[in-house]
Symmetry: C2
C-alpha cells in the first residue's frame, strides 16, 4: 500500500490549499496539460471525453427541440465587430487579433472570435426576409478566444470549447420563451447528468452580457464558497437586428425586426464537476459523464485464471452498455486502486482468486468508499442500480451543501459574515440600484450572481442604501 499512499499524498489537501488541490487534480488525473501559450490548455483524452459526454447529451436535446448545427468562420473583421456598440465595448479589451495573412498585412484586421453574435447576424440578414424563414434556431460547437490576464484550467482560459446557440424569432414572446427553454435544458444537464444543482435566475443589468436586454444564468456553488457561472442565455430584443439590418415581412405584410437570443455553456462545466464533487483523493466523477464508469481491477493478478476471468467480467459489463476499462497491467493492485480513485471512476470492480472460487466480485463506490460483495448473477443489475444511486447521492449531497449556503442577510455585518466567513450566497433584498452592487463589490469583492426565479421577499428595504427593496438577489464571491 506504499504506492497508494504516495499517490494520495501527491494531491494537496483541500483544506490546506483549495486552489492548489484543484490544479493538482486537473494535472494528475490527466484531464489537461498546459501548452506553451498561457491560457491555452491541452484537453487530454480523459478530460476531452467528459466534454464529449456533455456534448452528446446537449446536442441531442438541442436537436429534439428543433435546433440545427452550423459552423461560422473563426475570424471576425474588425469593422463587422464594431457594428453593435455595447458588444464591442464588452469584448474589445480581450481580443486576439490577426494582422498578417500569407506574409502580408491584413487591411481589415481579423479578430479571433470571442463569441459569434455578429457573424450570425450578418448571415441572418442575408437569409431572413419573410415570417416563413422564422424561427431560425442555430447552434455551433467550436472554440473561442478571450485574451485573459488570469487563467485557470477549465475555469478561465484564453481559449475554451463551448456551444453557442443563436436564434431569431418573429416576436418577443417567442424569443423570451426560447431564452428560458434553453436555460431549462442547461438545468436538466446539471440535475440529470453532472449531478450539479444550479441556482437559476436573471442577471442584474450590471452583470448582463454585452449587448443583451436580459441575461439568465445557472450558477453552481463551489466548496470554497464561491459561485461559478456555468451557463447563460440571453434575450437580445431586436437591438442587433436593427444594427445589422435584419428585417422580415410579417404575416400582415409589414416589415418587422426579428427578436434574438443566444445561449452557451463551455468546458467550464468540467471545472464545476471537479470542484463540486472532488475530494482529497482526487476526482469524483458523476456516473453519466464519467469516461470510465466501471474499472475492473484483478487482485493477485499473477494467480492463474484471474486475468482471464477479470476480462470476461469486463466484457459482460461492457456488453451491458457501460463504459468499462480493465487495468491488467503489471502494476500493483494498490497502485491501481489509488490511480482510479484519483481519476474518479464511479465503480471499481475487484476480482481475485477467492472471488472466482465463490463466483462473486467486490464493487466499491468512489463517492462513499462503500464496498459490497455481489454474486456473478447479480452483477449487471447491481451496477444498473449503483449507477443511478451514485448519481442521486452525489446530486443530493451537492444540493444539501447549496441549500445550507444560501443565507438571508439583513445588514452589512451579516453580508460580511456570509461573504467573508461562511461562504456561499448572501440572499439580500435589493433596491435595484447599482450603488448597492458597487458597494458590495468594493467592500467584499462579491457580485450579484442572480435574481433567483424563486422570489421570496423577507424584508422591505435594501440594507446597503436603506431604500425600498425590489428584488431578492444572491450575492457571492465568484470565479
Amino acid at each position: 500500500m506504499e504506492n497508494n499512499q504516495k499517490k494520495n499524498e501527491s494531491i494537496t489537501r483541500q483544506e490546506d490549499d483549495f486552489a492548489q488541490w484543484y490544479t493538482d487534480v486537473c494535472k494528475k488525473a490527466e484531464l489537461m496539460d498546459y501548452s506553451s501559450v498561457k491560457g491555452f490548455i491541452i484537453y487530454r483524452p480523459y478530460g476531452y471525453a467528459i466534454w464529449e459526454q456533455i456534448q452528446s447529451y446537449l446536442d441531442k436535446r438541442f436537436k429534439e427541440t428543433g435546433h440545427q448545427n452550423v459552423y461560422m468562420p473563426m475570424v471576425i473583421p474588425e469593422s463587422l465587430f464594431q457594428k453593435e456598440k455595447d458588444h464591442v465595448v464588452g469584448f474589445a479589451p480581450e481580443t486576439l487579433v490577426a494582422t498578417i495573412g500569407g506574409n502580408a498585412p491584413i487591411d481589415d484586421r481579423l479578430i479571433i472570435r470571442p463569441t459569434s453574435e455578429v457573424l450570425f447576424c450578418e448571415h441572418y440578414a442575408k437569409i431572413i426576409s419573410s415570417y416563413r424563414d422564422l424561427p431560425k434556431l442555430y447552434n455551433q460547437w467550436c472554440s473561442v478566444v478571450r485574451w485573459e490576464k488570469t487563467t485557470r484550467p477549465f475555469l478561465r482560459g484564453s481559449e475554451f470549447l463551448w456551444q453557442e446557440g443563436h436564434t431569431m424569432h418573429k416576436n418577443e414572446e417567442e424569443a423570451r420563451t426560447e431564452t428560458l427553454k434553453m436555460l431549462e435544458i442547461y438545468d436538466d444537464l446539471g440535475r440529470d447528468v453532472l449531478a450539479v444543482p444550479f441556482v437559476k435566475g436573471r442577471k442584474t443589468d450590471r452583470e448582463k452580457f454585452a449587448g443583451a436586454e436580459e441575461t439568465y444564468t445557472i450558477e453552481a456553488l463551489m466548496p470554497d464558497g464561491k459561485a461559478l457561472q456555468s451557463g447563460t442565455t440571453h434575450y437580445f430584443g431586436n437591438g442587433f437586428a436593427k444594427a445589422f439590418g435584419i428585417k422580415f415581412q410579417n404575416r400582415e405584410g409589414k416589415l418587422d425586426f426579428p427578436h434574438q437570443t443566444s445561449w452557451g455553456v463551455s468546458t467550464r462545466l468540467i471545472g464545476s464537476i471537479i470542484m463540486v464533487h472532488g475530494d482529497d483523493n482526487g476526482l469524483v466523477l458523476p456516473p453519466y459523464v464519467a469516461p470510465i464508469q466501471v474499472v475492473v481491477i484483478p487482485v493477485a493478478a499473477n494467480k492463474p485464471g484471474v486475468i482471464p476471468e477479470a476480462r470476461r467480467l469486463h466484457d459482460i459489463v461492457k456488453a451491458a452498455g457501460y463504459r468499462t476499462f480493465i487495468d491488467d497491467s503489471d502494476k500493483s493492485a494498490g497502485w491501481k486502486f489509488s490511480e482510479y480513485e484519483m481519476k474518479g471512476v464511479p465503480i471499481r470492480l475487484e476480482i481475485g482468486p477467492r472471488d472466482i472460487e465463490n463466483k462473486q466480485v467486490t464493487l466499491a463506490k468512489r463517492n462513499t468508499g462503500e464496498k459490497i460483495t455481489v454474486k456473478y448473477e447479480d452483477l449487471v443489475p447491481t451496477i444498473d442500480a449503483l449507477i443511478k444511486q451514485i448519481h442521486q447521492e452525489m446530486y443530493q449531497k451537492a444540493t444539501k451543501y447549496l441549500q445550507e449556503h444560501i443565507t438571508e442577510v439583513r445588514s452589512v455585518e451579516e453580508l460580511d459574515e456570509v461573504l467573508n466567513k461562511k461562504g456561499g450566497y448572501a440572499k439580500m433584498m435589493w433596491s435595484g440600484d447599482e450603488e448597492s452592487e458597487l458597494f458590495i463589490k468594493d467592500k467584499f469583492a462579491a457580485t450579484a450572481r442572480a435574481i433567483p426565479f424563486n422570489q421570496m421577499p423577507f424584508d422591505d428595504k435594501d440594507p446597503i442604501n436603506g431604500k425600498p427593496a425590489k428584488k431578492v438577489v444572491l450575492f457571492a464571491k465568484a470565479y
Copy 2:
C-alpha cells in the same frame, strides 16, 4: 410545373460551365454561404449535417481502433512552429498570424494552426518516457487555417474543418502499419458511406507532406476529369521526434525515438460528394450521408386527409430509423419536387388522394429518376432495399467512370491526349526522377497524384526522359 422549370434553370448546366454549376449547387442547395472574409465560408445546416454524418462514421471507426480524441490549442507560437525545418518551409507562406492580444503586441507571435504536428510533438515530449506509454493514438476534430489566394467552397478554403490524427509508436513497423490502416478506414468511408471510389497509393517525394517520410493518399476523380486529393496519411519516421526531443526507454532499457504518423480528412470530402454524384438538377446525395434520406411530399395537399396521412407515413418511416422530412408547407408539389431534387434527397415519397384510396405511395429515386408504386405494407422493407440499392448504383456508376478514366500512356502525345482531352488519370511508367514530374507540370499543369498500390508495369521506360521505368504513376490535373 412552371416553378419546377424555373428551379432547374437556375442551376448552370454542367456542360456549359462545370465550375459555375458547382458554385450554384453549393449556394442553392444551401450547403454554404460566403462570409465577408474571403475563403472563410459559413457551413449552413444542410452542409454541416453532411459533415456530422462523416464525423459520426469516422469517430466510431477511430475509437474502435483504439484512438482517443483530444483538443490542442488553436495557436502555435512562431518559435515552436520553426522547430522542424521542412514543415515550416511548407506552411509558412500560407499562415494567418495573430500579433495583438488584449490590445498589446505579442512577443512570440501566434500562428493560427494550419495543422498541429508541432503541438502534438511538444505535448508528446512531456508525456512519453517509457515503452509503456506507447502507442499514443490521438485524434482531434477542429478547424485549421491556411491563407489561400484562390478559394472555392469546400475544395480550398482559408479555414476548413477536419480531423487530424497524430500517433506515436515504439518502432517503424508499427507506425507504418498505422499509416496504412488509417488509409484503409478512409477508403472504407468512400466505399461504404460516400459512394466515392478512391485511387489509393503513395505520393512521390515531390508531392508528399512537408516533413513526412512518406505520404499516402486517397484520390477521387471528378467528372471534369480532374483528381481531388481527398485524404492523406503520413509516416514521419522519427524526424519530428528528434527535433522535439521525444524519447522513451524501450523494453531493453535503452533510450529510443518513437516513430510517428499523422492523417486527416476534411470538409473537402463534401466537395467530392457534390461533384462525383451531382447532375444538372443539383445535388445527388449518397443515402448514408444524406441529412434527409426520405422526403415526404403530399400531392393535392389541400384535399381533406392528405396531410394527416402524409404525416402518418412520415412518422412510420422515421420510426424505422431513417432521416425523414415532410414538407407540408403551402408551396406547390411541383416546387417541392424540384427543391428536394436539387437538394439531392435520395428518396421522394409522394402521397395523394388516389394513393390513399389504394393504400399505396409512389417512391422516386433521385439518382435515376425511377418511380415505383408501393403498397403501404411494403413501405419500410422497400425503403430498406432502396437505400442499399441507391448506394450501390451510385458507387458502381462512379467506379465505372473512374475505371474508364485511367488510361495507359506511352508517349508525350498520349499524355497530352489524356490530360488535355479525355481527362482523368494518365497511367505512366516513371523513372523516379523529378525531371519527369516537372516536365509534366510545366507542359500540362498536371501532377503525380499517386503511385498506386496495385503496380502493373506495362512498359520498361519513362516516356519523358527515356530512362528505365521504376514505378507506375498516375498523373492528372487536380483541384
